[in-house]
């Protein structure tokens, strides 16, 4: 149903950005700019919560809240409007984006205190909120793509915020260009979707005269495509899904397009928290879950998603183990956790993926903001080898980071346990729909479990190096690496309330946020009720993967189930298996923490293998294999041969022709007698020639 309040969610931050850019630049008052920025996001959050939870609201009814703002593109059968739609999926996203976004804006007011570009930062941050909310609330692929590109732009602007540092500019370019490579796939996917289905919309809004059939409804009753490699190029659902996944891999930092995210840590920490942990990088997951209907008919594509997700999770976790910059550890951790979300999508557990998106937003934002508080308190020192023993100096930061640490390690009752465990359980029990065999799901589970262990280890390492042990920052600086922007030894201090208050709120959310998704297997220990709120909320809007094997639809076998969502069965064996796996997950988490504690408490500076510290030399490989050849080809081929040779040559050639002609014509008037004689001769010859050819006139 229509509700014009929906557009306020996206336009409030846009207005905030405009005000901060135009007026904030003149006024230069941090309180004004901060108030406008935080206030606009607060308005978005309030409206989002209202529209989600009121009676008939997005999260309480099956029909979405729609808002048709204006008719944008309409060419023949192609129609894409500037229209918003808040259903259960986008409503969930809008809630946590605005809420966590608000907390991060508040934190940033404290973190960016004293910066000359304060107004610029908040203008871009608000612009980012506008783009991200457009991405999730857009009711068609094209508007989603507008938001997609907008968040990429804001990511570029904010990573490169410290524009006087070369590494920031390079990182910003790397992020944008790598994203663009993914966008190539995304755009092709959108085009193919239109070609196959005749629509690019997610929702039908006949009242506003929009399309009555959507891209997603086309696939609802379509055949499930076969599980073969040939399906990828066949031009159907699998092709679309693979192309869309390329886009998601770029935006959400999966193999092979993850390389921009660690470099993006060159931006200010609130940016890392908001964009590269909680919101932008989850846009890929959102897109896949939104198009779950398409993926649900393309098992080959889902297989690819699952493999890449699992591989990325493990790969990034191994690298995170060896990083010494506190933000880089968290960056690789983010890549790894995103791998989990894609693994979940690949095995058909779309709701579990979204659940992990939400809990990850809480604890990863907490961890990033906490690290920002540490960096701020250490006067912008980021190398953990020069920290240590900070728990005495920053108690609030320490306490809140502990909750984040426990959450990401998968310790119950904290939030990360429920979502990660759900993913691992769904991977273990995945049907052979999108996998070559049921044994494969056990392999994927093993990769996920190993990653969970490594996660706990490297997070413990990070915590131990930062907060425990001797205070390595007290050693004289000249003996190690002299830093030009430090003046003498740093005295760490706790951060002001604008920074610690968001930490506390996020710590609370990381602790209790998991309770929205307690699975039946665990809650039934206490009471025979299914309290899995998130499962009930999101189930109607995501596709269900049939439990049959490759391409056999359960619907074919049991037609009476055609309109029943097949949720996880609550049989005896399944419940005890799930509880067993949950227990194993807890043991893995605790074992990882214990292992990390034992190894690193005594030797926090223990050197990790070089190959991990140098991130498997992937950046160097890309540089040598792709970037140098392209650069060389561009410089030698395109620039020197085409641009200078052909195009400039053509223009210069025109000039030279004119000059030559002028030089010859000059002889007409140079006073050069012999030239005159020659011209008379040439003229006479031409005349005679003409007559000889045309025939002499008869007398």
């Amino acid at each position: 149903m229509e509700n014009n309040l929906l557009s306020l969610i996206i336009f409030a931050p846009l207005a905030g950005a405009a005000v901060n850019w135009l007026i904030g630049r003149r006024v230069r008052d941090e309180r004004f700019i901060g108030a406008v920025a935080c206030g606009s996001v607060a308005i978005s959050a309030l409206v989002a919560f209202y529209l989600a939870f009121k009676s008939g609201g997005a999260l309480r009814s099956e029909t979405p809240v729609l808002d048709h703002i204006w008719t944008w593109l309409q060419v023949g059968a192609f129609r894409a409007d500037f229209a918003l739609a808040m259903d259960r999926l986008s409503g969930t996203y809008a809630l946590f984006i605005t809420f966590v976004g608000f907390l991060i804006h508040l934190f940033a007011v404290g973190y960016m205190h004293g910066e000359a570009g304060f107004y610029r930062f908040f203008a871009f941050l608000n612009l980012f909120m506008f783009s991200m909310l457009t991405l999730v609330l857009g009711d068609n692929f094209i508007l989603m793509f507008v938001g997609w590109e907008g968040v990429g732009l804001c990511s570029y602007l904010l990573i490169g915020y410290y524009f006087d540092k070369k590494e920031a500019g390079d990182a910003a370019k790397k992020a944008f260009i790598t994203n663009r490579i993914g966008d190539w796939g995304f755009v092709l996917g959108i085009m193919l979707t239109f070609f196959v289905t005749g629509s690019v919309s997610f929702f039908a809004n006949p009242a506003a005269g929009e399309v009555t059939h959507t891209a997603l409804s086309f696939f609802k009753n379509a055949q499930v495509e076969p599980f073969t490699a040939g399906a990828i190029l066949a031009g159907g659902a699998t092709s679309i899904a693979v192309l869309l996944f390329i886009g998601a891999a770029g935006k959400s930092a999966q193999i092979p397009l993850y390389v921009w995210l660690p470099d993006a840590m060159a931006g200010p920490t609130p940016v890392s928290a908001l964009i590269h942990a909680a919101t932008m990088v989850t846009a890929g997951v959102y897109m896949i879950v939104r198009c779950s209907e398409i993926f649900g008919h393309a098992p080959t594509a889902m297989f690819i998603v699952a493999i890449i997700g699992a591989a990325t999770a493990l790969f990034a976790a191994t690298i995170g183990l060896a990083q010494n910059d506190i933000k880089k550890v968290l960056a690789y951790s983010t890549i790894s956790q995103l791998g989990y979300m894609f693994l979940a999508c690949g095995v058909g557990a779309f709701v579990a993926a979204i659940f992990h998106v939400i809990t990850h937003a809480f604890f990863k934002a907490l961890l990033f903001l906490g690290s920002g508080s540490v960096i701020h308190g250490m006067h912008h020192e980021q190398d953990m080898r020069r920290m240590g023993g900070l728990r005495k100096y920053m108690p609030i930061t320490f306490a809140t980071m502990i909750t984040g640490w426990l959450a990401i390690s998968g310790v119950p009752i904290f939030a990360g346990f429920f979502s990660k465990d759900e993913i691992l359980w769904r991977t273990w029990s995945a049907p052979a729909f999108s996998l070559p065999s049921t044994g494969f799901s056990k392999l994927l589970w093993a990769i996920g479990a190993l990653t969970a262990l490594l996660t706990a280890v490297y997070m413990t390492r990070m915590m131990v190096m930062t907060f425990w042990g001797e205070e390595r920052f007290r050693e004289s600086h000249e003996s190690k690496h002299p830093e030009p922007d430090h003046h003498g030894p740093v005295e760490p201090h706790e951060s002001p309330w604008v920074m610690t208050l968001p930490l506390i709120v996020l710590a609370v959310l990381s602790t209790v946020g998991g309770f929205i998704g307690v699975p039946y297997a665990l809650s039934s220990v206490f009471a025979d009720r299914d309290v899995n709120v998130i499962e009930h909320t999101l189930e109607p809007v995501v596709a269900t993967v049939p439990p049959g094997t490759h391409g056999e639809s359960l619907v074919d076998q049991h037609p009476e189930l055609a309109f029943e969502p097949t949720h996880v069965a609550h049989s005896r064996e399944e419940i005890s298996a799930e509880r067993l796996l949950a227990g194993i997950s807890v043991l893995i988490g605790l074992a990882g923490i214990g292992l990390g504690w034992v190894i690193f408490q005594k030797r926090p500076l223990l050197a990790m293998p070089r190959v991990l510290e140098n991130k498997y030399y992937v950046d160097e490989i890309y540089d040598a294999a792709l970037i140098r050849p392209i650069e060389g080809g561009s410089r030698e081929g395109l620039w020197k041969i085409l641009d200078i040779g052909v195009i400039d040559g053509f223009l210069h050639g025109i000039g030279e022709v004119v000059t030559e002609a002028g030089r010859l014509a000059r002889y007409l008037q140079a006073g050069f007698v012999r030239a005159y004689a020659a011209i008379i001769l040439v003229g006479a010859l031409i005349l005679i020639g003409l007559f000889a050819w045309k025939g002499f006139p008869s007398p």
Binding site: Q669, A670, G671, F672, V673, R674, A677, A678, L681
Partner: protein, 101 residues
């Protein structure tokens, strides 16, 4: 063999070409003039040849006129050359190039 008309015409053409080439190539003004006279005489030869072969006296009349014109032109031309020479001390036609528009 009797001399053919075409022989006379060919000779005349060759002389004319030599004259034209000389006018264009030569830098000495006197040499240019001599080549111009050569051109005029080549044309005279053509007229006379035609007059002789077609037994028509019109050709010979033309020769008269051409000779008169050639003489007048040579007189005036040499007068100009002498004036220029007095002014410039040089018979190089390339140097007489101040008559530009």
């Amino acid at each position: 063999m009797e001399p053919q008309l075409s022989w006379y015409l060919a000779l005349s053409a060759i002389l004319f070409t030599i004259g034209v080439t000389g006018v264009i190539i030569k830098r000495n003004v006197i040499a240019m003039f001599m080549c111009i006279e050569l051109m005029l005489n080549a044309v005279n030869l053509t007229f006379v040849a035609f007059a002789s072969f077609f037994q028509d006296v019109t050709g010979q009349l033309f020769v008269f006129i051409v000779m008169t014109v050639a003489a007048a032109e040579a007189a005036v031309g040499l007068g100009i050359i002498i004036t220029i020479f007095r002014n410039r001390e040089s018979l190089d036609v390339d140097e007489a190039s101040i008559l530009k528009l």
